[in-house]
Symmetry: C2
Subunit: 80 residues, 2 copies
């Protein structure tokens, strides 16, 4: 099974990297960019029998290694 | 409009960061992780009148700054 994990900073956490990208885009001539937040994206190939098992495994991996639950939240999508 | 941009290395490009994460997960006791690829994820708030305009703007931003088209590909999702 394939799982996609999207990790983003929690909304209350300041994202200086996103802010820098936003300012760079303004400098490049795109004033219509109102906000940018950068996150991480993981594509996982998992040896799991069902979509539910793959989702549970991906959540465990995100909790243990892929995300820092103190400042980050994550979202999981599972596909075949 | 909100746009999400997912940037990943092209399949033919070796991803040492993903490989390192995969090995770390094996060491942590998850042998069922067959492959990991890491990418970047951007959430953009765009000042665009329609979903089509937001998608076109996000693609332009991805081509110019967010992705390196030589080694990376990207995918865009637009929401309200």
């Amino acid at each position: 099974m394939h799982a996609r994990v999207f990790v983003t900073l929690k909304p209350s956490v300041f994202d200086p990297q996103g802010k820098t990208i936003q300012e760079a885009l303004h400098t490049l001539g795109y004033p219509g960019v109102q906000d940018v937040r950068q996150g991480k994206y993981f594509e996982l190939d998992l040896d799991a029998p069902t979509a539910e098992a793959a989702r549970a495994l991906a959540a465990e991996l995100a909790d243990k290694l892929l995300a820092n639950p103190v400042i980050e939240s994550y979202r999981i999508e599972v596909t075949d």
